[in-house]
């Protein structure tokens, strides 16, 4: 189902979602970046804002345009909405007799509609669905949040210089995994519904037919977005190539620059590593068992009582890249990179993961785009 939603009617989409009980969340300008925040009115969206991104650098500037989504992804993907950066898993109380009572702490979640999700982030979420929804052990915390989401995607019209989703096959247009997807044009949106509830919602909106002109404009916009992406990984599956070059000098070179700070893994929409811990009240009765995002760039990630398996940055960087672009293929049937470019932009020293990977793989990457 495909309809045209004029800009003037855009607010209706939010109104209907709110009527149906959803909290709306959308991109907002906060502290110099575009990040998700509560959304009630479409004017709260980053209308007219543009971003400038390159490795280690992000700046926002306001232009004169009237578009809502004329910018590329900010630092946060959908990940924080499904995989909480820190959360309590259970609590336990020890009573006077020494008995332990374990109590599950599954989060209260409200139905949440996210407006303006990009294709790369949806692809990443599907990877995390596979990970946390692993057949034998469902993750109730992730799942509950995940199932509360209603996704309104937006095709990417203005990729950043760091974006390369086209080469990973994940963007710039959204193809699946959303309830409604929008292609923003000058006077409105082409809206496509993919789910039952998406179709119902779209049917209620005051839309018009999509005209051939609309299609033409959308097509041209898409082609331009693809053409704007000059960065690409040397291949879709670099596993063999990376493992064939485990002692490439580039590993040391990149480790000399890498801060081992883990920002890349934190912003990466597919990274799932987390650590657990216990916080106990001083009197020792009650304790909470929680988890928080961890990173293969931390010592704790590979700590084993008497030693750290990856005690040097070079080993940590190699772990990250060989996993992300290599062994993910074994685990999830594809690479762990969706081309969002965040790990380039948000690396404080601007390490370019794509360039690094390509250098290490040399000409060995499989050639398909």
């Amino acid at each position: 189902m495909e309809r045209f939603l004029p800009t003037a009617q855009f607010q209706r989409l939010i109104n209907l979602l709110r009527r149906d009980g959803y909290d709306c969340v959308g991109p907002r300008v906060r502290d110099g970046a575009i990040v998700y925040g509560p959304l009630e009115r479409v004017e709260e969206l980053p209308v007219g804002w543009h971003d400038e991104q390159r490795p280690g650098h992000y700046r926002l500037a306001r232009g004169s345009g009237r578009r809502f989504f004329d910018w590329a992804n900010g630092p946060e993907a959908l990940k924080p909405l499904t995989f909480a950066s820190r959360e309590v898993l259970w609590t336990v109380v020890r009573d006077g007799q020494g008995s332990l009572r374990f109590c599950e702490e599954v989060p209260e979640v409200r139905p949440t509609a996210v407006i303006g999700v990009r294709a790369c982030d949806i692809a990443a979420m599907h990877l995390q669905d596979q990970h946390f929804g692993y057949r034998e052990y469902q993750d109730p915390y992730y799942n509950r949040r995940r199932r509360a989401l209603f996704l309104v995607a937006v095709d990417c019209a203005r990729p950043a210089s760091t974006c390369f989703c086209h080469s990973t096959g994940d963007g710039p247009a959204a193809h699946a995994g959303f309830d409604i997807a929008l292609t923003e044009l000058d006077d409105g949106f082409i809206a496509r519904a993919r789910s039952e509830r998406g179709r119902d919602l779209l049917a209620e909106l005051p839309t018009t037919e999509v005209t051939p002109d609309h299609h033409a404009a959308a097509g041209a916009q898409h082609d331009a977005a693809v053409a704007a992406q000059t960065r690409r990984l040397a291949g879709r599956n670099l596993k063999a190539s990376l493992f064939a070059h485990l002692d490439h000098p580039e590993w040391d070179a990149v480790a000399g620059r890498c801060l081992s700070c883990g920002n890349c893994t934190a912003v990466c929409p597919t990274c799932f590593c987390h650590s657990v811990g216990d916080t106990t009240e001083l009197d020792g009765r009650r304790s909470t068992h929680h988890r928080q995002w961890d990173s293969c760039f931390s010592a704790g990630h590979s700590y084993m009582h008497s030693f750290v398996v990856r005690d040097q940055t070079v080993l940590r960087y190699r772990q990250w890249l060989t996993h992300k672009l290599g062994t993910w293929h074994d685990q999830y049937g594809r690479s762990g990179c969706v081309g969002c470019g965040r790990c380039l932009t948000w690396c404080p020293v601007g390490i370019d993961m794509v360039e690094t990977a390509n250098r290490i793989c040399g000409g060995d990457g499989d050639a398909q785009p």
């Binding site: 485990l246 799932f272 657990v276 106990t280 772990q319």
Partner: protein, 286 residues
């Protein structure tokens, strides 16, 4: 002996069950054994596991650690864990008293290939203090001695002090068709076993290579060289199994810490057939 994991039948795999320490045995200066029973009789009755699987043990207010189950699922009612005191949680557990409550969840992972081993000659090799899990395998097989071929039990320690269960090895020597080879890098007075540098003791292992299965436990370098020795003698690589270890926080394949190349040890391991992990076994950083 189909394993029917408790964690699979309950909705939240992260949530431990209360268990009571029924017995505490100090095995050596740093090694001790906990005998546990779930306080909920229903949970206890329904809890099933394979030898070589592991549990997450939770010490109140301190944390959780993965520990192999060393009891025999068919012969022992209590859950038995033999633990080396190395860090925070294992130190804390070393101080528990009988009657104290812990949290337990599991079982997780894949254990030793005991079914595959039936009818085969079995070589069991352990290095250093990593021997607890193999002791339970040996006990398991000795209880069912008739199902297996020739036994060879190899234990290598650096220092004689690391050899903590001499009486067990002496007892196993008496078992029919069983060879026990123990060697220390550094000997001492009264040391009645061998003294040999490195892993030379493996050369004495005599097996019918075409129907041998090997199970190895110890530091990674040790396991790799033991495996190569066996391969050198003609044992097929695919018949060699080894137990791996990595930091583990969730045990259900979510936290990402136990990655070993393409695998998560908590899901596919800790016991692997050698070829599966060989490519990364001796590469620093994996």
């Amino acid at each position: 002996m189909r394993s029917h994991s408790l964690a699979q039948t309950q909705p939240n795999a992260y949530l431990p069950h209360e268990a009571e320490v029924v017995k505490f045995v100090q095995e050596s200066k740093t090694i001790y054994t906990l005998y546990l029973r779930f306080t909920d009789p229903l949970v206890h009755a329904n809890y099933m596991y394979d030898p070589g699987q592991f549990n997450m043990l939770y010490l109140h207010g301190v944390g959780e650690v993965p520990i192999s189950i060393v009891s025999d699922p068919e012969h022992e009612d209590l859950l038995i864990h033999t633990i080396n005191r190395v860090g925070r949680v294992t130190r804390g557990l070393a101080a528990v008293s009988e009657g104290q409550r812990l949290g337990v969840r599991g079982p997780y992972g894949r254990g030793w290939p005991l079914r595959e081993a039936e009818g085969q000659d079995v070589v069991i090799v352990s290095g250093g203090l990593g021997c607890a899990p193999v002791v339970s395998v040996i006990n398991y097989m000795i209880r069912r001695r008739e199902r297996f071929g020739r036994f060879t039990i190899v234990q290598k320690v650096k220092h004689v002090d690391e050899f903590i269960w001499p009486e067990r090895y002496e007892r196993w020597q008496q078992v029919p068709d069983t060879t026990v080879l123990v060697a220390a890098t550094q000997g001492a007075e009264n040391w009645r076993w061998q003294v040999s540098p490195r892993i030379k003791v493996m050369e004495e292992v005599k097996v019918h290579t075409e129907r041998t299965i090997a199970m190895i436990c110890g530091p990674e370098g040790f396991m790799a060289s033991a495996a190569e020795h066996l391969i050198g003698q003609g044992v097929p690589a695919a018949s060699i199994y080894m137990s791996t270890e990595r930091n583990m926080q969730c045990a259900v394949g979510h936290c990402g810490h136990c990655q070993f190349g393409p695998t998560f040890i908590c899901k596919e391991g800790p016991v692997y057939a050698y070829p599966r992990i060989k490519p990364l076994l001796n590469i620093r950083g994996f």
